[in-house]
Symmetry: C2
Subunit: 467 residues, 2 copies
């Protein structure tokens, strides 16, 4: 106890000292880093931010009133939290409205099932689409199937999403969602319905973006809940043809404007060099976007705020980027690259928090091998938070995933995503799924990384090529 008080006292002395005298010259000391960590562990700011976002705005589909409210909310919060610069950058977005989605099995045993439109899907005709289904385990099976098997039918793609801490089960099967409509339509399908890309067995369908191709007819695309996929399978096992009727009323509404919202804590020594801390401010529309990506918003905003409040000025600029329109195709991320191409070589690091609110358990990087010892020092500072040093093949997160193409080093503060795909893109993505204690650990890791990353003097480029 006494020790703790002394340490805290020491920290405040150091803090005052460094903030006033050596702000632009000294790297943060281990004691300062430790104290920053502790401040983050004691702060519920990141949780309070996602609470405010989900309660006061809720779902934030690009092109809605809520999307613009979120932009305003973000600017207001960043200013309130003391960021040195706060600004927005316009992003042109396609506007899509969900409408309703209803489906039923009409044969052999009629009953309603739970579906949702995949993001970007066209509507069915008013009278709906009714057809026999043809089942495939995977998108690869659809690609290999003959047109004779598929023509005139509703393709049912039924891949199982494996649960894994890293979320790697998702990547293996999400092609069914993104490519299902194109591959099925090429062979004459009238619609595609996939088993939800999710690890739960709740009767929710998981939405998420799908794509069309210019030269392939656009067919409606939906997901059904996992219990409903199992219901359909139980019928198929009886060797009876299964028919589904699908009614969906989504609509494309042309183009709109959203904004990337940016807040900066100016660097003391290299203000034009940037550590990019990203999250995305849009969300799907059926839950309140708490895990995806309200949690990330809270974490990166609190990271800047806690560092600002501490008085320890980062040596390089911390740029919090709250991306627009991630869910509908990384639209804000692409706009950011366009707008900032000229300064991408000044981006020291980029990383994003967009994998829910689980504990961070691993620190991955993608930097030049010569910088690995410098990364190990950061890893050592993260270790007390229960974070292990990972590999050097980090992706950085969806919105920063294209930055390595421009040479930008990326980092992942890898969260435990074991239950992320239970809730992801469903009505069940709500605030109660976030554990405030885990948010504190996340924020502590981010402040640790941010303050140390801003001070790394070792060259990090060129980054290693993708394996």
């Amino acid at each position: 106890m006494q020790y703790h008080i002394n340490k805290t006292l020491t920290f405040f002395l150091l803090l005052t000292f460094s903030a006033t005298t050596f702000a632009t010259q000294q790297n943060p000391t281990p004691a300062q880093v430790k104290a920053l960590q502790q401040q983050a562990l004691n702060s519920d700011l990141s949780y309070q931010l996602v609470e405010s976002l989900t309660v006061e705005i809720g779902p934030r589909l690009p092109g809605t009133v809520a999307d613009i409210k979120t932009v305003e909310w973000s600017e207001k919060q960043l200013k309130r939290l003391g960021f040195d610069k706060v600004y927005r950058e316009p992003v042109t977005i396609p506007v899509w409205k969900r409408g309703d989605a209803k489906a039923s099995i009409t044969a052999p045993f009629p009953q309603n099932i739970v579906v949702t439109a995949l993001g970007g899907s066209v509507a069915t005709p008013k009278e709906g689409i009714e057809a026999e289904i043809v089942r495939f385990d995977s998108i690869e099976q659809v690609e290999q199937a003959s047109a004779a098997e598929i023509e005139g039918k509703i393709v049912f793609i039924d891949p199982i999403t494996e649960r894994h801490r890293t979320g790697k089960g998702y990547g293996k099967v999400v092609g069914a969602r993104s490519k299902g409509a194109v591959e099925s339509a090429k062979k004459g399908a009238v619609a595609v319905v996939i088993r939800s890309i999710g690890t739960d067995s709740d009767r929710f369908a998981h939405t998420g973006m799908m794509r069309y191709a210019d030269d392939v007819v656009r067919i409606p695309a939906a997901a059904m809940s996992v219990p409903d996929a199992e219901l359909v399978n139980a019928m198929l096992k009886r060797d009876l043809p299964v028919k589904i009727k699908l009614h969906m009323t989504p609509a494309h509404k042309g183009e709109g404007t959203s904004y990337n919202v940016i807040g900066e804590i100016t660097g003391s020594q290299y203000p034009d060099e940037i550590v990019l801390l990203g999250a995305h401010h849009d969300s799907w529309d059926e839950g309140t976007g708490a895990l995806d990506d309200g949690a990330g918003m809270g974490i990166v905003m609190a990271t800047g705020a806690i560092i600002k409040k501490s008085g320890i000025q980062p040596k390089r600029t911390l740029r919090v980027v709250l991306y627009a329109a991630e869910e509908i195709g990384l639209i804000g991320a692409k706009a950011y690259v366009e707008a900032h191409k000229a300064e991408l070589d000044k981006h020291k690091f980029a990383l994003e928090s967009d994998f829910g609110a689980g504990y961070i358990w691993r620190f991955d990087t993608r930097v030049n091998d010569s910088a690995l010892p410098a990364m190990q020092k950061i890893a050592d500072a993260l270790a007390p938070l229960g974070i292990e040093r990972g590999h050097n093949e980090a992706s950085g997160g969806p919105d920063v995933s294209m930055l390595p193409n421009y040479g930008v080093p990326v980092v992942s503060l890898q969260q435990d995503g074991s239950d992320y795909f239970d809730y992801h893109h469903t009505p069940n993505d709500t605030l109660d799924k976030i554990d405030p204690v885990k948010m504190k650990q996340n924020t502590a890791a981010w402040v640790t990384f941010a303050i140390l990353a801003a001070a790394v003097d070792t060259p990090l480029r060129p980054i290693p090529p993708k394996e």
Copy 2:
């Protein structure tokens, strides 16, 4: 291993012997009971039945086509399974259709919430009902409130359902659902919306029956999901008035007919004396009624079937009663009492399986104290299944709960209901929530009880008064 083989051999010898020679005179031997248990533990019949019911019919709201299909399915299955008598008895039912239910918070922070109509609710006007809410912790608080607090508002009753193995948290708060509309309307409320009576935090609203009173105006009644109740509370904590808009289109459609379906295994010695094994065949309409009460259907039907197939004829008649219209007010149960009043004194025991598909962990009874030693013998036979002897204040289950008023002894094979109210009356009540292994243990307990109960010669009446 050798021992086991010998025991099995002994059983078959005994079985042949008893079935052919002493069927009407001997009580089942411990070895026979043990072998019956083992047959049930090896059989997936109870699971197969609920699988068939949920896949081939699905939800079974009284008054629907599916309800009548269920009656036909039940008769067909009971005949297939070798029951000696199979018949149906008509039950007049009120017919109610759910329609749609939509709700949104319109102030201070507009967003949609997930609601469902409570069973029996009237519709809102076409344009919906929009009003400020007034929150109460419990139905008791509503009863104590003044009309001035409530008049013109939507009453929001917000009780938390505690998780408990016995489900006792449900009974404490379900009054908010059953009595909320009447108590709120008495004081001028325009609608009532309750926090779902459920232990989960999924974004599903839990339906269930509510009641009106003849002399009180009928206001719409809905439940919102637990995450939405928390959302509303988060807004109320900001000291801002919260307004909700509610659109619901349920409708009362007059009267219809359903049927109690009955299957009997005739008693060898006292065929006119009855051990009543109950479950209900109707279900709510948003899930597939797997846990409530498809599981119970599977268990009691398999119980009769496994006993029949074993060749051990019960000394008294085993009467499997598949009740109609339990969910909407024990309508089938009341009709059974009317139809069978004259023979209720011949009902040796009654019990129902209607609490999901968890392991049975306790054996409760309500019999004359003088019969407790005989009950202990049954408890001893249940003990190898992990079942402890409980109290002598059993309720027997919803559909047999009025039989003690007529002197009928009741029993509860108490299931672990720890997660029952996570799924109860939601779209999430689907087959995947049932563990086939637990269904086997349930069925083993029921066959054990049934065969021994049919042979109990001790007088069980008069039963003790309710505490």
